[in-house]
Symmetry: C2
């Protein structure tokens, strides 16, 4: 019993079906950084068509748009997060962060004995 155990939490949001999880959260972070869904997908080594499907599915399930297409200007053909998309991403990140704190606090109680 000398192995260091670490715990990994994955949080997924469901409505009727799965709609939001680590994949779409990472995509939205990248869109915010790169101002483009295509660039975000490329940065994650993901096909653009897959990224597009993930975002569209999340939007349909949530009932509001996450991305706003931008045309022209310095970031022509790009995308930005909608206000609701930004709020959802912040909520997801905050929720995961607070859960992670609890997970760290509970760790010793449950797993210290296996180290």
């Amino acid at each position: 019993m000398d192995r260091k155990i670490r715990t990994v939490l994955t949080v997924r949001l469901f409505t009727d079906e799965k709609c939001f999880g680590p994949g779409v959260a990472t995509l939205l972070h990248k869109v915010r950084e790169l101002h483009s869904l295509r660039a975000a997908a490329m940065d994650m080594s993901m096909a653009y068509s897959k990224a597009w499907t993930i975002v569209k599915n999340a939007e349909r399930q949530m009932g509001f748009p996450l991305l706003l297409s931008t045309t022209g200007g310095r970031h022509g053909g790009g995308a930005v997060l909608t206000e609701e998309g930004q709020a959802l991403l912040d909520a997801y990140d905050g929720y995961c962060a607070e859960l992670r704190e609890t997970a760290d606090r509970l760790y010793d109680k449950y797993f210290a004995k296996f180290q």
Copy 2:
């Protein structure tokens, strides 16, 4: 914004690599109930060879046996959880349950606004 969102948590344990999660936890619960890894795998519609590999990988990563083969007697050819396997399953279940409580408590803070 009229969709009911629910959150699903998945907890996985890692040492060098992934070693314990919902799949092996369910297998161990079934072994405890059915006194047989083969019956447990069948009950989960999982190939016995896959169940065996999952358990062996978890044992190798954790550094202790999870199952004890039993031969003869009323449950001939079956399996039971080792003391350490039972302790790990209890720890995993307890950890997940406490995290789930926290997740439920945090839900409104983060997601009520999206209902």
